[in-house]
């Protein structure tokens, strides 16, 4: 399946992916309305500092530990993509603790939130990759299979 | 002041036609004149002409110079020059017939000449090169004089008018040639000058051409590097010089010359067998500026043969046919039918495909 891959060699640490992510999932028409004066809650985060930076988001693992640990059945797979049913989520945040990448985060409404490859928002494909100025984040099919 | 051809660029549309006897039998000019009649629409009365090969058998070792003079003064200047440069064997007026369709004729003379051996030796050139230089000199340096034919045992006859009238004017029925080429001109500019009519000739080479070449100035500026002077600014002139340069000076074969002038596309060359590919790549690399683009169909006349060639996209019509030992080439099939109603094996050569016809060895 197509996944989001990050190449730290080209990551500039500009953090634009975080803003593009937050905007994509806001449902707002424009970024100013979506993000101005509000806390930014992206599902991708730029880690590291100085010369080495790296954007981290859900790996959509083959056997996701977050799904195994989900007590309410909110986390599930849809054709390889790990998705969350926020109606079902009880906000126990077990998944946040379990994810080895720190890619599942507590959301503003109590439910957990995570990258769903922008398949469930108006973007249609990951906004982080589309907006990355240096192609450090790419959304593509690769032979290798992640964990 | 009247602007003469040569002082501006004059592209033309045209009709061409040619016939050759592979047995070297001599044909009068009537048949070739006939061929131009059905193509009347392709000319506009501003130029017509013919070239005949084998017409001066009695002077076959001498260069026959055909000249136009604007007046007696030009003739005198030119003759003074000729006397110093060459041995003049015979000088005479070219016989013409007064007809209403052809007017304003210049003085039209022919000279049978030969270069002085001693001059050739001291200049270290052969007789062809020497005559070519004489022609270039007259055409660029002697005002009012113009050499329009300069080969051996051949001659060009041309004028402002429709080709069938030009043929009648020059009494072509009185000449016998083993090959004829003809041209009717549709220049886009007036005045078409007598010198600007076709065929265009240098030494034995004559060219009749239909088309307007888009590569003109690239070709002209290249060929002028090798001592040619394009005084008429016509496509036919530059093609004649290219043919002379490649065939005479560089010693290329007719086929090789055709693949310089109408080079195959690189993608065609790449599909060819290795040896052929190497040779064609070489020719295109060595003579890039002699590639002729834009529409043309030409018939190149030379001693003992004809070569017909279309541009590589075949943007002008040209057909060939045969009957017995005769081969016919023309812009239109109708022209061939006018020469030989029973002609057969009609063929439309592909773009860039040369059709070469030679008189049998020893027959001319």
């Amino acid at each position: 399946m197509k996944r989001v891959y990050v190449n730290e060699e080209w990551c500039l640490g500009c953090h634009l992916c975080e803003y593009n992510c937050a905007f994509a999932n806001s449902g707002a028409r424009d970024m100013v309305t979506a993000l101005k004066g509000k806390p930014i809650l992206p599902r991708i985060r730029v880690e590291g500092e100085g010369d080495v930076t790296y954007a981290v988001s859900c790996r959509h693992c083959r056997d996701p530990i977050c799904i195994r640990g989900c007590i309410s059945g909110a986390l599930h797979k849809e054709g390889g993509t790990v998705c969350i049913d926020r109606e079902k989520c009880v906000g126990c945040l077990t998944c946040v603790l379990l994810c080895p990448y720190g890619a599942v985060l507590p959301g503003p409404d109590g439910a957990a939130m995570k990258c769903e490859l922008c398949l469930k928002n108006a973007c249609g494909e990951p906004a982080c990759a589309a907006g990355c100025p240096n192609r450090a984040i790419v959304y593509e099919e690769r032979e290798e299979e992640t964990v | 002041m009247r602007v003469l051809e040569g002082q501006f660029r004059n592209p033309s549309g045209c009709a061409i036609s040619a016939v050759i006897s592979r047995n070297g039998e001599r044909m009068s000019g009537e048949q070739i004149i006939e061929s131009m009649k059905p193509m009347h629409e392709r000319s506009n009365g501003l130029g017509g002409g013919f070239a005949g090969y084998g017409i001066y058998p009695e002077y076959r070792e001498l260069f026959a110079l055909h000249l136009f003079f604007s007046g007696k003064e030009a003739k005198k200047d030119c003759e003074d020059y000729l006397k110093g440069a060459l041995e003049l064997v015979k000088a005479e007026v070219i016989p013409t017939r007064t007809i209403p369709a052809i007017t304003d004729e210049p003085l039209i003379w022919r000279y049978f000449v030969t270069p002085l051996r001693s001059v050739l030796a001291s200049m270290q050139v052969d007789e062809n090169e020497y005559i070519a230089r004489v022609v270039m000199h007259i055409n660029t340096a002697i005002t009012g004089a113009y050499v329009f034919s300069s080969g051996k045992n051949m001659g060009v006859f041309k004028a402002v008018g429709f080709p069938e009238d030009v043929g009648e004017f020059y009494r072509l029925e009185d000449y016998g040639a083993y090959s004829w080429t003809a041209h009717g001109r549709y220049p886009t500019n007036t005045p078409g000058w007598w010198g600007g009519a076709h065929p265009f000739a240098l030494l034995d080479w004559t060219v009749v051409h239909n088309g307007e070449i888009s590569s003109y100035d690239a070709n002209r500026r290249c060929i002028e590097m090798y001592g040619y002077k394009c005084t008429l600014q016509t496509d036919t002139e530059v093609i004649t010089y290219i043919a002379d340069y490649l065939l005479r000076k560089q010693g290329l074969t007719l086929e090789e010359t055709a693949s310089v002038i109408a080079a195959p596309f690189w993608e065609t060359i790449e599909r060819m067998p290795e040896a052929e590919k190497r040779e064609l790549t070489y020719l295109r690399t060595v003579f890039p500026s002699l590639l002729v683009t834009g529409p043309f169909s030409i018939v190149l006349g030379f001693h003992g043969g004809l070569m017909a060639l279309n541009d590589r996209l075949k943007l002008r019509s040209m057909v060939t046919a045969e009957k017995g030992d005769r081969v016919f080439i023309a812009s239109e099939e109708a022209a061939i039918r006018a020469m030989e109603p029973a002609a057969e094996n009609f063929y439309a050569p592909a773009g860039g495909e040369p059709v070469i016809v030679r008189v049998r060895e020893g027959c001319c």
Partner: protein, 502 residues
Amino acid sequence: MSGINFLFPEFEVVRNDDRCIRCRVCERQCANEVHFYDAARDRVFSDESKCVNCQRCVSLCPTRALKIVRSDCRLRENANWDSDTIREVYKQAESGGVLLSSMGNPKPLPVYWDKLLINASQVTNPSIDPLREPMETRVFLGKKPKTLERDGNGKLKTELTPQLELDIPVMFSAMSYGSISYNAHASLARAATALGTCYNTGEGGLHEDFYKYGPNTIVQVASGRFGVHEDFLQAGAAIEIKMGQGAKPGIGGHLPGAKVGPDVSRTRMIPEGSDAISPAPHHDIYSIEDLRQLVWSLKEATGHVKPVIVKVAAVHNIAAIASGIARSGADIIAIDGFRGGTGAAPTRIRDHVGIPIELALASVDARLREEGIRDRVSLVAGGSIRSSADVVKAVALGADACYIATAAVLALGCHLCRTCQSGKCNWGIATQRPDLAKRLNPDIGSQRLINLMTAWKREIMELMGGMGINSIEALRGNRLMLRGVGLNETELRILGVSHAGE
């Protein structure tokens, strides 16, 4: 020196606070440290005195909250003492130094390309549609033989002196590793390979990673001989001797030690941190016969299989110079006009020395033809070829091919801010700072170069087709395809073209 700053900032950073979402990408991306975030007031501010108007922040701002405008604070300028002239006096009075700047001559001198118009077929001759018919742009650069030879069987001997084969008549001209980044070189090398053309190492040697692009590389030998060794010479498809550069004729080059890091040091074969100073002349070439010796030495060193290019700046006597070079054994002459770019040049030289490439090219082509030696060399024209139309006009004037560099770096992201000499290129091109150089991902860079050249190639084919020409050879030197507008008799004579309407 004094406490007074005579120079007000040239640009203003205009931030639309209604749109600014405080993402601070501008702050993170500006190597000149123009932008800064004040947490106490939760606002982003700017110090426009540091701004060079490279537009990096403008391009990356996700809400388009930024624009950079020329400051309307004006000096009391007049037609003689314009703002730039006055500022330059202030700068020199402050520093006591030679003014430095970069990229090409910005002065309003005539751009002859814009005064030449191209022909098209109507009625007497059909135009050719490149979508339906073959349209050839391949060129071979190199010497053509004067006479042909045949073997015993009458077959043509097809051995030629070395030729450089290009699929398009455009190459990337010399920019050294050092003056531009590793990633910029990688982009150029990869694009040249994909396009079937060449890029040029400039006088900086060839990084070991790029030897694999050798068949599409022109290796340069300049007056400092930086990075020149046998493997380097063997690596390229052609060797270029750089005698001069359009942006700075008559002077050498200077790569500041700050840019000579470990990689550049190894590639140039000079100590880390040392200034790389190329002398003004080649100290083994004080005349044309010396050039001949270098040409033949390089040929000898590489087994006579590579064409040798001699690159010269377009100066007053260029026709005679080119004629001398044509007889020196060089296979190709590259002429660089006075609008050519550079990573750093003294401002006075950049703006006042040299002549336009259009006139230089036209007079060189005409002179070589007059002397009957045009076939002995190919001509490459550079020094501000900005578009496919410029390429077509250059070829019609007589060039075999063109060199582009400014257009190429523009494709890579350059915004012509003309401060390459600072080494703080925000676009990752003219810099050796790793954090900045990584901003140019060669995957993107090479693709943008390929896109640009593909687009130019299509346009060249369209223009040729309109003229009824289906091979670039038939366009070369075909000056009838050009007409001048608004040019005087002398200019027309030198260009060898008629005026429009004639």
